[in-house]
Symmetry: C2
DNA sequence: GTCTATATGCAGATAGAC
DNA sequence: GTCTATCTGCATATAGAC
């Protein structure tokens, strides 16, 4: 193995962990499985990470960052049609998410597993809180953007509908992972979006 | 230890597992930890359960049964006020659930951990599906009862709003477990109930 | 920086005496 | 039916040569 900078090695290990744990679950992502996937030795792992939990914390931060980037990109793409209303934008974003979930279910399941694990571990709890603060902020940004692009506006503070949105995506993910009923999940999200817009948005005539 | 019938021993082990895993998580619920909690020897475990997964399957079935009983009881209690509408009933049921979640967060977290674990294990996948079928049926029964008690009725098949309800409760649970913000979760559920009723219910004047 | 080899401990499951 | 003792394997983490 060539000599790698510590940062590059951390990066490679995070990517390997994502592959292994996405495929077989958080519990299957042992340090040994991760280094095998990365083609490294076990000692190299502990050279750049003090512990497995330190890897998990970095994993969450990295994936959340990636998700946020994907979400804003999807939203921008959805708001191109000038005749679209905020409900159309949000529906398109929801479908985008659902497509991503279908394409790589393991990744989203892993995030849920990580969240539940982090909540149990005192050292990782702050990471989970940060993760959900980021989700809420992203949801608020999504709502704001959907309104701005369609000339609508939202009643009251964004925090409430943003939290409803996060709750819905979380719940829809869990439910879909169990029954894999994409049509039903799409219907649920579509209905939820309509409800959200009906209650919180002011759409110009 | 006295000689116990196999059935009684299974029951005792399931209860012990619920305590240990509710407290410290699914991963901490090793066979050894469970038998220690139950005050039994390790061999007794394998005398009545072929494997740990068999215990987990029975665990899910038992808790789901208990949850369904609690949910219907709470609904009946909520529908006593003759002036209540379906939204009032559902709000009361949501608050009842939230109270239960606050009183014993570990139990609900454990159910989520079990669901995600079951989805990964081929042998347990059918258990998870059964669990969510039961949730959906319970949600439909809840909606039906809320309508019947208040003279309202639902538009279209119950399956769609029932799925929305399950999704919401799932998502609200995850979100609450992370930030423990009861007020925000209550607001989310209240808003969601209003939305649900506005879209799906026909309330008599 | 990178490796092999190892320390240490706990997991699920079983053997076999009583 | 119930127990102690044990088999077997894998976990995280570290020591120390190169």
């Amino acid at each position: 193995m060539p000599r790698l900078a510590a940062g590059d090695r951390r990066e490679a290990l995070v990517e390997a962990a994502l592959r292994v744990m996405g495929r077989d679950g958080l519990a299957a992502g042992t340090t040994r499985a991760v280094v095998a996937e990365a083609g490294m030795s076990l000692a190299s792992f502990h050279y750049v990470f003090a512990s497995r939990d330190e890897l998990l914390a970095e994993l969450v931060r990295r994936v959340v960052g990636r998700e946020l980037a994907t979400a804003t990109a999807a939203l921008d793409a959805a708001a191109i049609d000038p005749a679209a209303g905020p409900a159309d934008c949000l529906r398109a974003a929801a479908r985008g998410y659902l497509g991503h979930l279908e394409a790589d279910p393991g990744a989203e399941q892993l995030m849920l597993e990580l969240t539940l694990h982090a909540v149990r571990e005192p050292d990782l709890r702050p990471v989970a809180r940060e993760q959900y603060r980021a989700y809420a902020a992203a949801a608020a940004a999504l709502l704001e953007r959907a309104a701005a692009r369609t000339g609508a506006r939202w009643r009251g503070p964004l925090a409430e509908p943003a939290r409803v949105l996060v709750t819905l995506v979380d719940g829809a993910t869990t439910t879909w992972l169990v029954d894999r009923d994409t049509a039903a999940t799409r219907a649920t999200l579509d209905a939820a979006v309509d409800l959200l817009v009906a209650r919180y948005a002011v759409v110009p005539a």
